[in-house]
Amino acid sequence: MNSKDLIVWLIPFFPLLGAILLGVFGKYLKNYSGYLGSVFIVISFILSTVIFFTVAYGHSFTSTLYSWIDASYFKVNVSTTVDRLSVIMLVMVTGISSLVHIYSIGYMKDDKGFARYFSYLNLFVFSMIMLIMANNFLLLYVFWEAVGFCSYILIGFWYEKKSASNAGKKAFIVNRIGDFGFALGVMLIFVNMGTLSYSSVFSGIHLLPPYLITTIALLLFAGAVGKSAQFPLHVWLPDAMEGPTPVSALIHAATMVTAGVYLIARCHIIFSYSPDASNVVLIIGGTTAFIAAFIAMTQFDIKRIIAYSTISQLGYMFMAVGIGSYAAGIFHLVSHAIFKGLLFLTAGSVMHGMSGELDLRKMGGLYSKMKKTAITFIVGGLALSGIPPFSGFFSKDAILASLFNKGDYFFWIIGELVAFMTAFYIFRLIFNVFFGESHADKNLHVHESPNVMTIPLIILACFAAVFGFIGMPPFDHSIFYNFINKDFANSFNFSPAVNNYPWYLLSTVSVIAGLSGIYAAYVFYIKKSFDLEMLKKRFKTVYALSFNKLYIDEIYDFAIVKPMKNFSVFLWRVVDSFVIDGAVNGIAQWISVTSSKVRKVQNGMLMSYIFTLSVGVIALLAYYFVR
């Protein structure tokens, strides 16, 4: 094991160590657990940076720790692959994790589950790192589930709240539905390829018949749909906001939910060989982007709005990878991670200042009271809305340009529409929270958060502001593209993200969409030029659809959950207790009834005994003569 390998394995090791130490000894560490947890992650981050440069100026490499499963012809190792895609993800994940950890020290200060919280969070970071570093599908699947599990325990962190524990459970189960497909995909790969390691699978996938490739791709995508909260499995993510806000920032915005995009980028070769599957990805991405933005426009819970925004932005990424513009997808993934993490953390800061209040109707005019938070939030909002020069502009623009360039004009239009809606709902939020008059409880002491929380915000805001420049349009000439595309260059139907088009025109359209969204929000919520109530009444159906999240939860409840429960009750009460056990007990009953009748033969009367005996004799004689 050389130093490179050692460093690679130390990256996940420290968070794991942290998780175990904090989990077991957390009770004794008290407040130090926060620092300890953060330190481990920061070390990890530093090591990741080292690896980043090793790969950036060197080659990608693989490293094997040990043979995990060796059952006959099924062999899987615990090993990693470190290439450009994974190092970018690594740095992003460990970086944001570090900030979130530090932020959490302030945010979770008085929580009695302080140590437990950091233990979980470290465990999550470990799992996420391993997910990124895995070099075979099974290991990927393992940590795919592991991050899901971490998400489950973190969402349900405040388990006393029924809603929180419900949300955790829901997240886990919905993810499992996706993983069901994912697992089948992994099995299908194995039975057809005889191996699960990335390199062998990718180099041999083209030998399979197309329908099989498509099936595999779609099954893998099912996993991605679950994890990345795409329609129709997006329902868990808004509920996941029951967890602590830093968790939402880290897991449900920046890292875990993007794993689906990472998965497709990682398996781009499989998807490249299957245009059908790629189209499905595109369609699902577009649908999700639109639906989520549509729902986000009318919600009142600030975290939920951001959650829907996350879903919508993930939709963008899927559109990107769906058309084969993997670089753009990953670029948006990273920049989204930064600004969405920022948005969540600032939302957390708002909550912290407002003593846990989340309803934007009860806020307003916070700008003056918590300036740092407000400014960083607005930076995040601008980035999300795609206003230059913030990072979101560049990354979203890269996707939209790719869509246009590919000729998918319909999805380009949807993309622009969503850009408008995005700008509208995020500024609706900003205007309602930070501007206008305060609707907060008068007794509430609104205060700015401590430095341990605001400093990470500022760092993130800076990144959100400047990160985009590494993806300067035209995207296919940018630093980021050139860096990452080495990994995607071997992709079969690779469509260059951008090519000979008036990029400035397209960018202008996007900017206009964003700005008009902001303006619309300004008109509605600052100038109040329209009577909102009247509008709501006029577009009652549309409003109701949006406000009730398209009734998707209700439909699931009605069409799946309830019937399944009833069916289960039926199986239990009728099939199990009545039919099967009834048959068993029925036999017993029959025997006992028969027995009570048979006993009557022995009635104590000598005459009847003699009679039975004689009948026996006659029967035997009859047997002989009748025979």
């Binding site: 025997i591 006992s592 028969t594 027995s595 009570s596 048979v598 006993r599 033969v601 022995q602 104590g604 000598l606 009847s608 005994y609 003699i610 039975t612 005996l613 009948v615 026996g616 004799v617 029967a619 035997l620 004689l621 047997y623 002989y624 025979r627």
Partner: protein, 540 residues
């Protein structure tokens, strides 16, 4: 070793005597007991006759052992002493021995004539042995009657107890009725073949089988004869529908006598049936096998069904013994070397498990702890852990659970039947033993797990059968109450402890326990013994 056969070689009468030596010894001792009863102090009677009986059995064993290598025919070919006898004599003598061990304690508390009892037991044991060694219809009839008459008297031995008398009466009428069939069957066989000796009949049928000119009416005579003979023997084996005497007389008889009937008489009946079967029925004239396996199925099914809801332990074991007879019959039907040795093994196993169960029943009866009703057994398992465990073990053996003699016996018999192609018979028998397990387990449930909480700790004096039946222990079955060192016990039951049970009874239980276990775990010697003894059946 003194070799009697050598000494008496050449003297016909002496040789005849030699062939019945074990029986003769018993009869001599039976008379000795009677004589001793006359001259002895009545208070010592019980002790003396008890020991005399034991010594008699021991001497009989001794003679059996000394003669065990020989085959002796006597009394003009009506009696044979061969290896087959050796095995069954052992079983019968053991049954008698165990019965005597059980009797002492049982009759100590009851006012009956003791010497006569023991001599009757010895008489009936010798009759059983005679029956097994009979190879002539006259001898068979005589021994059956000898055995039965003793059994009738023994059944009604509890003077002044109506159940005992009733049992004797029913047993007598039914027994004589069945004997009449046996006799009449003999007439027809005699008419058809002209012989009364089993082996001559055997040879006759063997030759006639190939003779096309065999007259029709003789054919019919033989069939009627065989059927009626079967009825007579089936009665003694208590096969359905000739079983009717079994539950009633088992129930009414004194428990040691019940044990003797359940073990000794059954063995003797099966022993003679095997002799008759191998010499006559095994030709499968008139498809006799069909009758037999139908009888087997009916018998075991009836026995199990009737036992299922039974609450009287003695009756329960009576019905179970009917069912067991069905299983044993399978071995006979399977026939051949393998089937018959299986049957013999089963019979010996049956002695130990049944006698063991009866010994425990007597023990509880004598300790005045429990009537023979299952209800009164609740909680006994805790109070007497060892007795309870032993009883459970015997019951499991009867149910045919492995590690017990019962399993090995069943296994032996069933595999023989499969070997002979009786698949369905075995399947039915196995299903039967599955649900038969229920009523055995029911008793164990009562002993260890019963949870009906009626009449807690209250004394129940009832004059059921001359003995005071105290339902003291059957009271609070909740296991809880026994745990805290007997707060639930009454003073009376506290006083009566296991130690007051007669040592003889405990010896009997231990013997049964050990043999049930050995036959279940290491049956090799017994199986060889049985296999060796079977060979003589065909070698005469």
């Amino acid at each position: 070793m003194l070799d009697l056969a050598q000494i008496y070689n050449g003297y016909y009468l002496e040789k005849s005597l030699l062939s019945v030596m074990p029986e003769a010894v018993l009869i001599v001792f039976a008379f000795l007991i009677l004589l001793a009863g006359l001259f002895n102090n009545p208070s010592k009677n019980s002790v003396n006759s008890y020991y005399l009986a034991l010594i008699g059995v021991a001497f009989s064993f001794l003679y059996l052992f000394m003669l065990s290598d020989h085959t002796i025919k006597g009394f003009y070919g009506s009696i044979v002493f061969d290896k087959f006898d050796v095995f069954l004599f052992t079983a019968i003598l053991l049954s008698g021995f165990l019965t005597i061990l059980m009797s002492k304690n049982y009759f100590d508390t009851r006012s009956v004539l003791i010497p006569e009892y023991y001599s009757l037991v010895l008489f009936s044991v010798s009759a059983m042995m005679l029956l097994v060694s009979s190879i002539n219809l006259i001898m068979i009839f005589l021994s059956i009657e000898f055995m039965s008459i003793c059994a009738y008297i023994l059944t009604g031995y509890l003077k002044g107890e109506s159940r005992s008398t009733e049992a004797a009466m029913k047993y007598f009428v039914l027994g004589t009725f069945a004997s009449a069939f046996l006799l009449f069957g003999s007439v027809f066989i005699y008419a058809a073949t002209g012989h009364l000796s089993l082996y001559k009949i055997h040879n006759f049928i063997f030759e006639q089988n190939y003779n096309a000119h065999y007259a029709y009416n003789l054919h019919t005579f033989l069939a009627i004869g065989l059927i009626l003979l079967l009825v007579g023997l089936a009665f003694k084996m208590s096969l359905f529908p000739f079983h009717a005497w079994t539950p009633d007389s088992y129930d009414g008889a004194p428990t040691p006598v019940t044990n003797l009937m359940a073990t000794g008489i059954k063995i003797a009946a099966f022993g003679v049936f095997i002799r008759v079967f191998t010499s006559i029925y095994s030709f499968n004239v008139f498809n006799f096998y069909n009758i037999l396996w139908i009888l087997a199925i009916l018998t075991m099914t009836f026995g199990n069904f009737a036992a299922l809801l039974q609450t009287d332990l003695k009756r329960l074991i009576a019905y179970s013994s009917i069912a067991q007879a069905g299983y044993i019959l399978i071995g006979v039907i399977a026939g051949g070397y393998y089937g018959i040795s299986g049957t013999l093994f089963y019979l010996l196993a049956y002695v130990f498990m049944t006698a063991g169960a009866f010994a425990i029943i007597i023990m509880f009866e004598n300790l005045n702890l429990a009537s023979v009703n299952i209800k009164s057994y609740s909680g006994l398992g805790y109070k007497y852990p060892l007795a309870g465990a032993a009883f459970s073990f015997f019951l499991l053996s009867l149910a045919g659970i492995p590690v017990t003699a019962g399993f090995m016996g069943k296994f032996f018999v069933f595999s023989a039947a499969i070997k002979s192609g009786y698949y369905w018979l075995v399947v039915i028998a196995l299903l039967n033993s599955a649900f038969a397990a229920y009523y055995y387990i029911k008793i164990i449930v009562k002993m260890y797990m019963s949870d009906n909480n009626n009449n807690g700790g209250q004394l129940n004096l009832s004059n059921g059968r001359n003995s005071i039946i105290i339902n003291a222990v059957n009271t609070n079955k909740d296991s809880q109450s026994y745990a805290d060192n007997g707060s639930g016990k009454t003073a009376l039951t506290e006083a009566v402890s296991l130690k007051s049970a007669a040592p003889a009874l405990i010896i009997a239980i231990i013997i049964c326990l050990i043999f049930t276990l050995i036959l279940g775990i290491f049956p090799q010697p017994v199986i060889s013994f049985a296999s060796r003894s079977v060979t003589s059946l065909w070698s005469i």
